[in-house]
Symmetry: C2
Subunit: 149 residues, 2 copies
Amino acid sequence: MTLSVNSDEHFMKEALKEASLAFKEDEVPVGAVVVCEGKIIARAHNQTEALHDVTAHAEMLAITSASNFLGGKYLENCTIYISLEPCLMCAAALSHARVSKVVWATDDPKMGFSRMEKQVLHPKTTIMQGLMAEESSQLLKTFFQSKRQ
Amino acid sequence: MTLSVNSDEHFMKEALKEASLAFKEDEVPVGAVVVCEGKIIARAHNQTEALHDVTAHAEMLAITSASNFLGGKYLENCTIYISLEPCLMCAAALSHARVSKVVWATDDPKMGFSRMEKQVLHPKTTIMQGLMAEESSQLLKTFFQSKRQ
């Protein structure tokens, strides 16, 4: 079977190549590519260990790279191919980026966003809210008021 | 009233200073500082416009900076002070980072994670799952199997 260079399988194979690179680097093997108008504009693989950074998931790096390529923060005409179902962080980032389409290969029963709606923060994390809310709220209000003038 | 240099208010003031920097740069004014053993080890403000990058929220930049400072990806003995309730992306990132404590100033009724559990991806985003799941799943299994040996 031959694959069209524009087929979903073609692009997922590229995402899997990225996942394989992660594997070789002893990272959890997850890869992603961002496709815009039939072309790959960003590719990335998980680098959380190498960078000591939990935010360095394949999707996050791919979003940053694609935005950098396009010179704009919205990926409205882009499809992202990911080898694993995105976690909540990545799903929310994809939402912020207004990505047009999300394609993933294998489900993530533990961390996949579709199963993780309830528990967002770590169970051991303490939460304190409302400290100096007034000052912060005022700064935000002033900012958005200045935008409306 | 004088503030102890280790008080919550002291650190929130520093987060608000970061938010003010964002404001001056015409960014939505949100700031964050990460505190470990009574010291600020990372500070950041929202830079989504300057960097054309939806992932460049204050908290995300602060997590990356703190991890870089500590040389490790977990922030288990750290408190993050944020001028605004974190969004879902940032809350999930804070969960990944196992941050010890989260303190925020003003609530975010629109995007705050505590109100955003249900709708994670953008309503206009199309989802396709399961494409080449087998290959991806195999890569992941092989990786984790190799870890157990």
